[in-house]
């Protein structure tokens, strides 16, 4: 069991519907204390580095990252996180509709922690999100990060 702490997710998703539905599913699991959502790759990096409008933000427990994003793609965001001294050990889970082999290979190439493909069936989606919350919010032991 992880140490008692707030569980926060950062959801990087450009599609409003997807974002709302994901948030609903996450909330339903009743594990995550707070969800923040950003719409593109640039915002995601700003958030993680606490820059601009996100000044003072703490690092999330885990980042749920879509791949096809405006301005800066999910893979670019991932590579920047892994190249950043302060962010490199942050757990990142790709959550996307793409099951493309190249995307999967690239994501693992950048040491993604997990790669999840959104199922079309919403029951399954719910199950997946609920397991995800349990795994990353309860069972997983994240590194201690100083903020």
């Amino acid at each position: 069991m992880r140490k008692e702490a707030l569980v926060t997710f950062l959801l990087v998703e450009d599609d409003d519907d997807h974002a709302i539905l994901a948030e609903r599913a996450i909330k339903k699991a009743r594990i995550v204390n707070a969800i923040d959502r950003v719409r593109d790759g640039v915002e995601a990096m700003d958030y993680l580095r606490g820059e601009g409008q996100f000044s003072g933000k703490k690092l999330p427990t885990v980042v749920l990252l879509d791949l096809n994003l405006p301005k800066k793609s999910g893979l670019e965001v991932l590579s920047e996180i892994r190249a950043d001294e302060k962010l490199r050990s942050l757990p990142v889970v790709v959550l996307t509709t793409s099951g493309d082999d190249k995307d999967i290979a690239s994501a693992y190439g950048y040491n993604v922690n997990s790669y999840l493909k959104k199922p079309l069936d919403f029951e399954q989606f719910h199950q997946m999100v609920s397991d995800l919350c349990l795994y990353w919010g309860v069972w997983n032991q994240p590194p201690t990060t100083e903020n």
Partner: protein, 743 residues
């Protein structure tokens, strides 16, 4: 009178010192005189016929003793002069008893002695006696011949005229012009003869017919008369001696040569050497069959001069014929090269031009190897042998053309049947492209002087036929040598092929690039189906579940919202599918190239967007006189629509949104711009926005296909597109259409 011993075998022929035979022909007398005193040291055994005394009675006496008183002083003066060869013939009157007889004296120096030969002039009734007919006759012969041959178009015709003139002048039954090849075998290239005689024109004679020692003498002494083939040679007194007779007019003939002439039925012969530098390149050979020909010295002198002048004239002509032939051939090459280089399909052109190509290379056949197919024309070996030869022949960066004159000799380690060819030439073009030319065996093309296959000839010892066997052996399995011009032709052909091969490589590369582009496009499509098309489905499914929840909880307002979102997602999905389909059609349903009136086209689009523009309060300004150009109208319209719709969606954040359309003709393209006064686009995102499904702003209803379509339309019009913008400065999207021309 003694007679010469007769050699019996051919081997001794080359060994024989023919310049020192110690015998003379019997139609004159030869005296060896001591310098200054003119004392007779040796004399031919027929001396009595001329001096009325036996040789032994003459030895030790001054020759001038026997010359008529009037002639003595002038003869002594003449013989004292320091020359090698005297101005022959000398007029010498010999007083023998009461009789005085005039002779042609021929004197020269050799071995530290003066050699004086006397030929009977009185008894000679020769038709072209230059002495009796005057020097004008000699000049007449030379100048008339020069006039005759000057404008003749070939060496054969010029040679024929020379032979006719010389035959007429000397009265011989046959006069031939021999030309010696680099291997010294001779060919009769011109002839004049009595009508009843068998022609020798075109016959080849083996090099052995004129051995090296004989050839050396022909170069030293430019004329050689064998007055009577059947006459018995006469020895010298005293017999012991070793006299250099190479410049002697009366020098006895090698018994081999006598046999040779007798076998040909020749009674008398005379040869005039055609020499350039130290090379005997030809002979004017005269044969007489009816009997001896006592050609007087003065006539022979005329013939020597004739030979010198004619030799140089013929050489000049041969050189000019050669360069004329070379330039003709070069013209032919360039003509053929033009035909080949213009052809779109070199393979079939090579096949149809094969006979011309073969002729250009003076070959008998050719083969064209392309990867695994072999085309052949004319005389070639079997295809298996062709491949084997090609594999065996050397190649490398410096071996662009390889020529082989004898397959048997060069590739003696392999046992293959090359018939009917003996040699070949390969033009290496590319790894899998080769052109080969073949030549038949040299031997097969030659008409021999005499029949080498005649079994009777085999039995005749000391006939010229024996030397054939040796010669035939040396050229067996050889083709005509590939000359410098042949190689030049080959190089020319190669350069044409190289251009073609490279052009083909370029075409292939282009096809490959296009294919690769298509492949990338298809992959993009597949990716979009797996991601972007699925995205609204995920949404719809998600909201359906939410709708279920809300209805169960009795939250009708939330249910209503879920329902609206489902409808929106479904609509978006439909639009996405339509956009993708339209995108995929760009460049595939091109239609006709038309002259597009851009003023009209932009006005149409303006009207189309009228309502939308009105709703958003956007001003659209279109410049007048937009340039018209040739293109695919449907696609150009789509591109312009997309650019304007893009500007309406993303470029109208200003309070007073304005869009401007302009266009201009560039050097090789037409450029149209759509300007807005919105937020602009930061430089780092500018390159991505023309990619499929790349959107900077997902708050609008775009599908991410519009600008990708613009890029694709530009590409199909050999143009390009782009954006000029900076943050907060508005954006100018531009597209360039290349010159397509009409069709």
């Amino acid at each position: 009178m003694s007679s010469r011993p007769m050699p019996t075998d051919l081997e001794s022929c080359e060994m024989e010192v023919i310049s020192r035979p110690e015998f003379i022909q019997p139609h004159g007398v030869l005296l060896v005189l001591r310098e200054k005193t003119f004392v007779i040291e040796r004399i031919s055994l027929n001396a009595k016929e001329y001096f009325g005394l036996e040789p032994e009675e003459l030895i030790g006496r001054k020759v001038t003793e026997f010359v008529s008183a009037a002639n003595q002083a002038s003869l002594e003066d003449l013989l004292s002069s320091e020359v090698v060869t005297y101005p022959n013939p000398l007029n010498i009157s010999v007083a023998s008893g009461a009789e005085t007889c005039d002779y042609d004296g021929i004197a020269h120096r050799a071995d530290g002695h003066i050699i004086l030969e006397l030929e009977n002039r009185r008894s000679v009734s020769f038709r072209s006696n230059a002495a009796s007919r005057g020097i004008e006759h000699h000049f007449g012969l030379t100048s008339r011949t020069l006039d005759l041959i000057r404008n003749l178009p070939s060496i054969a015709e010029a040679g024929a005229a020379v032979c006719r003139e010389l035959k007429d002048f000397t009265g011989f039954d046959r006069v031939m012009l021999y030309l010696f090849a680099p291997d010294n075998h001779g060919e009769v290239i011109a002839e004049a003869k009595e009508p009843e005689l068998e022609p020798f024109l075109g016959l080849h004679f083996p090099a052995g017919d004129i051995p090296k020692n004989a050839r050396d003498l022909y170069i030293k002494n430019l004329i050689r008369l064998i007055a009577d083939v059947n006459a018995n040679p006469v020895g010298l007194y005293p017999a012991q001696g070793d006299l250099d007779m190479s410049m002697s007019a009366l020098r006895a003939v090698s018994p081999f040569h006598i046999k040779y002439l007798q076998n040909m039925g020749v009674a008398s012969s005379m040869s005039i050497s055609l020499v350039e530098g130290d090379r005997l390149w030809g002979l004017l050979a005269c044969h007489h069959y009816q009997g001896p020909m006592l050609v007087p010295c003065s006539t022979r002198v005329s013939c020597v001069h004739y030979g010198i002048v004619i030799a140089s004239q013929l050489q000049v002509m041969m050189r000019s014929y050669f360069s004329r032939d070379l330039s003709l051939r070069k013209e032919e090459i360039s003509r053929e090269v033009k035909i080949l280089s213009r052809s779109a399909d070199l393979h079939s052109t090579i096949e149809t031009r094969a006979p011309e190509l073969i002729r250009l290379c003076n070959a008998d056949g050719m083969a064209f190897l392309d990867d695994d197919t072999i085309f052949t024309d004319g005389s070639t070996p079997s295809k298996a042998t062709i491949v084997e030869l090609w594999k065996r022949c050397p190649r490398g960066p410096d071996t662009k053309v390889y020529a082989c004159e004898s397959i048997d000799e060069t590739f003696s380690d392999i046992d293959m049947d090359c018939s009917p060819v003996a040699g070949f030439l390969v033009i290496h073009c590319s790894h899998d492209w080769q052109l080969m030319f073949f030549r038949k065996e040299y031997l097969h093309e030659i008409r021999w002087g005499g029949d080498p296959g005649d079994p009777q000839a085999e039995k005749k010892v000391l006939t010229p036929r024996h030397s054939f066997a040796e010669w035939v052996e040396s050229v067996k399995g050889h083709c005509h040598p590939w000359t410098e011009i042949d190689l030049l032709v080959a190089e020319e052909l190669r350069s044409v092929f190289m251009v073609f091969v490279m052009h083909q490589a370029v075409v292939l590369q282009k096809l490959y690039d296009e294919l690769r582009e298509k492949n990338v496009e298809i992959q993009q499509f597949a990716y979009s189906v797996s991601h972007d098309l699925k995205s609204p489905l995920v949404t719809i499914n998600g909201w359906i579940a939410a709708l279920d929840d809300e209805l169960a909880a009795g939250n009708y307002d939330e249910a209503r919202e879920a329902f609206e979102r489902i409808r929106a997602a479904a609509t978006r999905m439909g639009r996405l599918i339509e956009d993708l389909l339209a995108f995929s059609k760009i460049g595939r349903m091109k239609g006709e190239i038309d002259l597009i009136d851009m003023d009209e086209l932009c006005q149409d689009i303006h009207e189309e967007f009228q309502i939308l523009l009105g709703e958003k309060g956007i001003t659209l300004e279109i410049d007048g006189n937009l340039p018209s150009f040739h293109g695919y109208e449907t696609e150009v319209r789509r591109a312009m629509e997309n650019l304007i719709s893009n500007a309406i969606k993303y470029g109208c954040t200003n309070d007073q949104p304005r869009i401007g359309i302009s266009g201009k003709k560039l050097e090789n393209a037409y450029r149209f711009s759509v300007r807005d006064n919105g937020e602009g686009i930061e430089p780092e995102y500018q390159s991505r926005i023309f990619e499929l499904f790349q959107r900077l702003d997902t708050s609008h209803s775009g599908t991410g296909v519009g600008l990708a379509s613009v890029a694709k339309v530009a590409q199909f019009h050999r143009g390009k597109c782009g954006v000029n913008s900076a943050a907060g400065q508005g954006a100018e999207f531009w597209i360039e259409f290349g010159e397509l021309g009409e069709n």
